[in-house]
Subunit: 418 residues, 2 copies
């Protein structure tokens, strides 16, 4: 099979109503790329009969179709039935699955409901993928030989990510890796660039690379950052990398697929340094994002969430008079917070932030979005203090502040770590 096309169909009205944010595409997209496959299209349809149209369309375009959701026990879950009808397959009871469901109910103290047995009905000939984290099994229907039209490899998978992901890792990904083995594998390398717009990036290096014809070049702009994406065999990427590094230079945050947090944790580890934090307006988001990195406990000691003024004084030993005089959102207070962290912990670096996330609390002098940040380092009397203004919704505000704080520390560490 030569470069099979993969389509993902997500079912679920909650996705279209905006009540749940899909994570399957990003998770599956990465896993499939790793084995040399590209998702060529993704579609979201509501619960109910529309799934039928979406399936027929995908069948006409793709060799591999992955459907998520609609395998539950309730009446709005009809993926299994629609597929069986569409392919002319009888639904048969799969005793082993029924036993698993009944055992699961017993173990968790739930009463077995008759309607749960629908989940044990399987289209004839389908391969059952057991679900270790829920009741609905996954189903794999392989292309049928000798029928008048050709069906793709069809995978029906449960909607909850913690059920789908282990099932995909155990079965779907290894199976598909076997199908496409031998294909020349491509690598996706993403250069995160800060302080250089995508136009300039394209003019100075991107255009030349895409003219070669053997590299797929892409750009994705984000707040303060552009992802400069190259897809090609590893040898070609290695060949052009020196050129990219020479042109992008200091604007480069990371030359691999690592996040800012991963880069920081590595830098700290290489420098033999540690970090602690004092957060007000971000409410722990800096620490939360760093501790998402496995192994961060090597370099992250802990932090203070000094949300109230009382906490700023009690946790960090800040003089209440300082807050009264300058306000909680001020250069003086954020510097005091950062120095307080160095006093109270053994960390080599301290990051502190205090600001107004909104929607309330702004004043003409300090509007919503104002934030003061500080970076203090042990053995260095000078604390770096800076101000930003991110007049966005609360969640984006927090993300931007986290990014600004981490990037400052990254720049400081860059010299010592590399």
């Amino acid at each position: 099979m030569n470069s099979p096309r993969v389509e993902i169909i997500n079912t679920g009205s909650e996705l279209l109503l905006g009540r749940v944010r899909d994570s399957h595409l990003s998770w599956l997209g990465r896993k499939l790329f790793e084995i040399g496959l590209r998702v060529t299209r993704q579609t979201t349809v509501p619960d109910g009969g529309v799934i039928r149209d979406a399936l027929l369309e995908a069948f006409s375009r793709a060799e591999i179709v992955i459907v998520t959701g609609g395998l539950g026990p309730t009446t709005d879950d009809i993926t299994r039935e629609v597929v069986a009808e569409l392919l002319g397959l009888r639904l048969e009871l799969h005793q082993e699955t029924l036993n698993r469901i009944q055992e699961r109910c017993l173990k968790r103290g739930f009463v077995f409901q008759d309607r749960m047995s629908r989940q044990a009905m399987v289209p004839e000939g389908a391969i059952v993928m057991p679900n270790d984290h829920g009741t609905a099994p996954g189903l794999h229907i392989a292309p049928t030989e000798g029928v008048s039209w050709i069906t793709p490899h069809l995978f029906l998978m449960p909607g909850p990510p913690r059920e789908l992901q282990p099932m995909a890792s155990a079965y779907v990904i290894p199976y598909l890796a076997g199908l496409v083995s031998g294909k020349e594998s491509h690598e996706c390398r993403i250069y995160k660039v800060v302080g250089m717009g995508e136009s300039l990036l394209e003019a100075s290096v991107g255009l030349e690379l895409s003219k070669r014809g053997d590299i797929e070049v892409g750009y994705c702009a984000r707040p303060n950052e552009v992802d400069f994406r190259l897809i090609a065999p590893k040898a070609i990427l290695d060949e052009v990398e020196p050129l990219i590094l020479a042109i992008v230079g200091d604007h480069l945050v990371s030359d691999d697929t690592g996040s800012m947090e991963e880069v920081l944790v590595n830098y700290l580890r290489e420098a033999g340094a540690t970090l602690a934090t004092a957060e007000s307006c971000t409410g722990g988001a800096i620490a939360d994002s760093i501790t998402d990195v496995a192994g961060s406990s090597d370099v992250f000691l802990g932090g203070y969430i000094a949300y109230s003024n009382e906490c700023k004084s009690r946790m960090l030993g800040l003089d209440p008079e300082l807050i009264r005089k300058h306000g909680a959102v001020s250069a003086e207070v954020v510097e005091g917070m950062a120095r307080g962290v160095l006093d109270k912990t053994s960390a080599s670096h301290a990051l502190a932030v205090t600001g107004i996330a909104g929607p309330g609390g702004g004043t003409p002098e300090k509007p919503v979005g104002t934030v003061w940040l500080a970076l203090a380092s042990r053995g260095d009397d000078k604390t770096i203090v800076w101000k930003e203004n991110f007049p966005m919704d609360r969640i984006t505000f927090k993300q931007m502040v986290v990014q600004s704080a981490l990037d400052r520390l990254r720049k400081r560490l860059k010299g010592s770590a590399r």
Copy 2:
């Protein structure tokens, strides 16, 4: 216009490669529902020519089509050009937009690149939606009268959420609200249910409600939680609510669309109570999720992120001997952390967690996923201490622990607050 269908087309190879997770569908889905519109389908296509097929298909099905992305300055951004070609519209220079882009470059200290002027090219007759947070303007192409086939309302919008969202709020949503005004508006009410599976929920109340024919009933299962979703005019939802409350009873987390965090902040406010936290394995995620709620500063004082053992002792006054004897992940230590928070702050309630997020650090006695949680309340000598096991990836582990901690506090507050 009677119940127009809305389709969203997301363009961007980064979405299909799994490098960026889409947020447009969930954001737009909610905003559109509020004005009486439902997204009937969403499609993701890569950068490049495929957008043409996706547009033609959407035109045949929907009255309103919203395209996100592909309006940037680089060569992989071709949405504008494809739409102009497809609709037979000439691209004309929009001088005002060109001026804005040049001014923006000046202000931000970027050199104006010739290729940026592509972003000022506008299909004839299109309405330009100015972009206050980036260079690419949005475009609205209204249905053309007198042509042989009917086009929908077409909105082309920039891909970055912080550019798209203000533009949609300022222009697209108000415009569409005007189009559909007068339509009977439906409400979407979501009952978050904990400890009652979706099968039982359907058997005991859901099936009866869906038989009525005037209520759309849906279920969405998540770790430890089911969203039980009803869509109907407000009067009908008010009518059936007592029945639901009677059956679901204590399993109900929230009877509105509020998140667990919003419910908690309200409960704390109503009870005149405050909260502080001590987190180890969650690294600030509990505090982070609470401080996502606007107004949380009324009730959330602050927290300690005691990630290292040293921090557990220094921040919370925990006897290092206790950690040596029982280990950092133990009932004794988590209780000490919670009591420490009450000692060190003036909070009325304290939540503490310590566990092993993995992938490293597990032992046969305390495998990865083990976590101890504690809830201590002022004036109550008894600390509630409990253990959970969430053997999942690091991010899901953190989410599950946050959920478990918040739910325990919710249950404690429920009596006093309501």
